[in-house]
């Protein structure tokens, strides 16, 4: 038999009562965004994710000033040293300090990850929004074309595009954007479709708002929730894809301190010097984990019913 009044419900009531007592006699301003922020703040794991992410971004920004050594300068007297007080995370096969390289690597993986996702959402999102907004034939044509793109698994698509265009940061971004377009378009399309039928859109149209204005001013802000959630998860996936491609030798290559490239450079050392491989992988995992925790938190905060 289900309990009618669970401890969790009691906890919520207690919190609400406390809040009410605090706000007694005050006029409380509340917007959906503020409500979501309140819910997000209560989610401990999401806050941990957010703080870790903020920390990594901070490291990326101040990297050149805090890195203990030059990330690119080989030091053949100190090759493959295990972690010690002079080199906290050890050195790699040419004596470069792994910690310094990890710090500088944050300046590559994160911005490129964000860039990929922003570009994919800008292009895919526009397609998805147009499909949802105009519906009918436009929708059908756009979605069918995206269906075709989706019948090639993203990783294979990315590999093929890099194979054609060649290595390099820009080509890497292009390949990831192309391979993730259909998924991004779908998310934006679905979110626009859910808000499209609301009365306020109808009234905007009745007031004579142009198509662009209806879409950008009224639909997009209201459809932002799922897009925002997916944005965080997409950055996580993009970072994983970038590192995988770099590991395969198709993305960013040595001497760049990109984390996947560091792993690719050290893969022959697995038997003898596993520390060279351990730390870059941990760095990728912690970053992606933080993004996923934060994304989970945003999702729960924006749509509490899902919890």
């Amino acid at each position: 038999m289900a309990k009618l009044y669970t401890p969790a419900m009691a906890k919520v009531d207690k919190r609400k009562a406390k809040e009410a007592a605090r706000n007694k006699g005050k006029v409380v301003r509340s917007t959906p965004a503020m409500e979501a922020w309140k819910r997000l703040k209560r989610n401990k794991l999401a806050i941990v994710g957010m703080l870790v992410l903020a920390f990594i971004i901070l490291i990326a920004i101040i990297g050149p000033w805090i890195a203990p050594y030059d990330y690119a300068e080989p030091d053949y007297d100190h090759r493959l040293e295990t972690p010690s007080s002079t080199h906290w995370l050890g050195t790699d096969s040419t004596g470069r300090d792994i910690l310094s390289r990890l710090i500088m690597g944050a300046r590559i993986s994160l911005p490129i990850g964000f860039l990929c996702v922003i570009a994919a959402f800008a292009i895919g999102g526009t397609l998805g929004a147009l499909a949802a907004f105009y519906g009918g034939k436009v929708d059908m044509i756009i979605m069918r074309i995206l269906d075709i793109f989706q019948s090639i698994p993203p990783m294979l698509m990315a590999i093929a595009v890099v194979a054609v265009l060649g290595k390099g940061v820009i080509n890497l971004v292009i390949s990831i954007v192309i391979s993730s377009l259909p998924a991004r378009a779908r998310i934006v399309r679905a979110s626009i479709l859910t808000v499209k039928r609301n009365d306020y859109i109808e009234s905007a149209r009745a007031m004579g708002a142009s198509s662009g204005r209806q879409l950008i001013k009224y639909m997009l802000p209201n459809a932002l929730g799922p897009i925002l959630t997916s944005f965080t998860f997409s950055v996580a996936t993009a970072i994983l894809t970038i590192s995988s491609l770099s590991y395969l030798g198709l993305g960013i290559s040595e001497p760049s301190p990109e984390w996947g490239a560091m792993l690719s450079g050290g893969k022959t050392l697995i038997r003898t010097y596993p520390h060279v491989l351990l730390f870059p992988g941990l760095a990728i995992m912690i970053t992606v984990l933080a993004l996923n925790l934060f994304g989970d938190g945003i999702r729960d905060a924006l749509d509490p019913r899902l919890k």
């Binding site: 990783m155 054609v164 491989l277 989970d296």
Partner: protein, 338 residues
Amino acid sequence: MGRYIIRRLLWMIPVILGVLLIVFALSAIAPGDPVDSIVGYDAPEEVREAKRQELGLNDPFILRYGRYVIGVFTKGDFGTSYTTKQPVLGEILSRFPNTLKLTFFAVLVALIIGIPLGVIAAVKQYSAIDNATMVFALFGVSVPQFWFALMMMYIFSIKLNWLPPITANSGAAGWVLPVAMIGIANVGMIARTTRSSMLEVIRQDYIRTARAKGQKEGKVIFKHALRNSLIPVVATLGNTLASSLGGSVVAESIFAVNGVGLYMLNSIDNRNWPSVAGGLLFLAIVFSFVMLFIDILYTVIDPRLKDEFNAKNKMAANKRAAKKKAREAARSAKAQEV
């Protein structure tokens, strides 16, 4: 229902043509001149030009694309490898069983572990088991697969010497690490999906009814709840498969599995584009057919979709009938005017 399946089957034609177009367009901008591999790099320009004319490489894009499509469908002509001068399809077919084995077992293992984990987590929501499962799932989707593979290789092959570090010539044991590597991300994804859909289903009225009539808890969970909550899991199977195919490329490279992925990667290194394009095309076609199967399976196991589809059909039929009526009315009105 039958109509949906037929329509879905027919839709395969433009999809496959579209995939061919993408691969062909990529080939058009790919590095390397097909003539090089036939007449040699140092052949004089006239010879090359003559060969180009002969092969029809100077024809318009659409014509070449048409020839490519016909070649693929009638002769299974996926191109000829620059390096071995052998037909690409044969080289792919000899390697495909390895990729298939890897992907199949990775998905299977993920389902076998992921679904029960998700069910347990949902049934014991907020318990230690639930939290542990979700942490594990989160780890699965956050860890870079190739790094996880390398770490496992270090622990199980190098330190403990339990498992062989490469798959070739090492029997079943050689497949454990690559399957685990691809499986880890999928287990996480499947466990999360199963958990959330199970949580939703458990709160439905029919579950309460089943309990109210005194049904055993085990039966309630496995017969009434699980079957319904598996529908979203089947829906995500396509994603699982796509990520497994992508993962298999990486796994093949790490564990030296002689599959299509490794073949493609080696071909990229050798600038042997026809082999890359052939591999891409082959895997995309296989993937499309599996997706077709999943879509059909999905409509078969979810009776709601059938109803929805029938209702839609009915609506469309009504609309057509109404249009016809209106047309006839207009025609008779016109006739009367005359």
